[in-house]
C-alpha cells in the first residue's frame, strides 16, 4: 500500500523487479457476474485486465496497438453495452457470459468454494435473468493493491501474442472500484 507524501506519478507508480508497472488496471465484467462473485464467491472476482482503457487512443503505432478489440476494455464495454441496450436476445456475447459464469461455477463447486445447492442456484439465476442484468461494469484496479496477485497473461492466453494483458485470479472487492461509464 502507498504511504507518505505523493508529489508526482513517478512516486506512486509501482516498481517490480526494476520495471515500472501500470498505475491502474482496467477490466470489464457483467453486472450479473459481479453480483454472483459478491454473493457466492466471498467478493472474489476473476479479472482479465489491461493497463490501458482504450488501446485505440494510443495510436496505430503505439505500444498498445497490438491489443485486439476482444481484449480492449473500451471496446468490450461499448459492444456489450450496445447489445444489452438493444435487448438482443441472440447476442453471442451475452450467451458467452452466461456460459462463462456457469463454467466458473463448475470450478468453484469442484474446489469447494460453493456447495451443490449454491451451484444449482447460480445455474437457475443465470438461465432466468433478463438481458439488462448483463450490462457491462468497468473495474478500475489500482495496481499497488494487487501487486502480489497479478500476473501477465502467457502468450497462449493472450488474444494477440504481442498484446499486454494481465490476470488476477482472485481480486478482492476491497481492491478495486467498479463503475458504469454510461
Amino acid at each position: 500500500m502507498l504511504t507518505g507524501r505523493v508529489s508526482d506519478f513517478s512516486e506512486i507508480r509501482p516498481v517490480v523487479g526494476g520495471k515500472a508497472m501500470p498505475l491502474v488496471l482496467y477490466s470489464v465484467n457483467t453486472y450479473l457476474a459481479y453480483m454472483i462473485n459478491e454473493r457466492f464467491y466471498e467478493g472474489k472476482h476473476h479479472a482479465w485486465c489491461s493497463e490501458i482503457f482504450d488501446a485505440r487512443a494510443n495510436g496505430q503505432w503505439g505500444r498498445y496497438a497490438s491489443i485486439p478489440p476482444t481484449s480492449n476494455p473500451y471496446e468490450i464495454y461499448h459492444n456489450l453495452y450496445e447489445e444489452v441496450r438493444r435487448g438482443d436476445r441472440h447476442s453471442a456475447k451475452i450467451e458467452a457470459n452466461r456460459e462463462g459464469i456457469l463454467l466458473g461455477a463448475d470450478i468453484k463447486r469442484r474446489y469447494g468454494v460453493i456447495d451443490q445447492n449454491q451451484r444449482t442456484e447460480i445455474e437457475e439465476i443465470v438461465k432466468s435473468v433478463e438481458i439488462s442484468d448483463f450490462r457491462p461494469i468497468l473495474y478500475v484496479i489500482p495496481y499497488s493493491n494487487v501487486v502480489a496477485d497479478v500476473r501477465e497473461a502467457t502468450v497462449e492466453e493472450r488474444a494477440h501474442p504481442l498484446s499486454l494483458e494481465f490476470i488476477i485470479e482472485s481480486l478482492d472487492s476491497q481492491h478495486f472500484d467498479p463503475i458504469e461509464v454510461i
Binding site: M35, E121, V129
Partner: protein
C-alpha cells in the same frame, strides 16, 4: 444433437462433460476476457465421463470436419449452449428441483449490501417477472 451420450446423465455429470468439452474446444485459443476460466483450470472427471467426452469430441470433429480446438466461436457457443440447455432441463426435471429457489436466491442477491457504494445496485430481474410477481 448429443442425446445419444447425454440422455442417461444427470445434470451434474452433464455439467462436468460440458466443462471438459469447453476446455478441449478452447485448448489452443486465447482467453476470452468475459469468460476467462476454462483454459487455465483442469477438472478431472471419472473415466466413464472422460470416455463420453472422447466420443462427443469425435462426433463434433466428424460433424464439423475440423479438429475440436479449431472450431469457430459461433459453433463453439452453439455446442456449449446445447449442453447447457440440456443440463438446465435435466435440473428442472430432477426430483429435488424447487421452483421457488430461484426467486429466493434472486431476492437474497437483491437485498445484499454491497461493499461498493458507487455502483448502481439495480434489482436482478427474472425473464418472467410479471408472471412470478417478483
Amino acid at each position: 444433437m448429443f442425446e445419444k451420450w447425454t440422455k442417461h446423465l444427470n445434470h451434474i455429470d452433464l455439467r462436468a462433460v460440458t466443462y471438459n468439452i469447453a476446455r478441449r474446444i478452447r485448448r489452443k485459443k486465447p482467453i476470452y476476457p468475459l469468460d476467462p476460466v476454462p483454459q487455465t483450470k483442469s477438472l478431472p472427471i471419472p473415466e466413464e465421463l472422460s470416455k463420453i467426452v472422447d466420443e462427443i469430441q469425435a462426433e463434433i470433429e466428424a460433424r464439423y470436419r475440423t479438429p475440436i480446438d479449431q472450431i469457430d466461436e459461433e459453433t463453439e457457443y452453439k455446442i456449449l449452449k446445447e449442453f447447457s440447455d440440456l443440463s438446465y432441463e435435466k435440473m428442472k426435471a430432477s426430483p429435488d428441483y424447487d421452483p421457488e429457489r430461484v426467486k429466493k436466491a434472486v431476492e437474497a442477491m437483491n437485498n445484499m449490501t454491497l461493499y461498493h457504494k458507487s455502483i448502481r445496485h439495480t434489482p436482478i430481474k427474472l425473464v418472467d417477472d410479471e408472471r412470478t410477481g417478483i
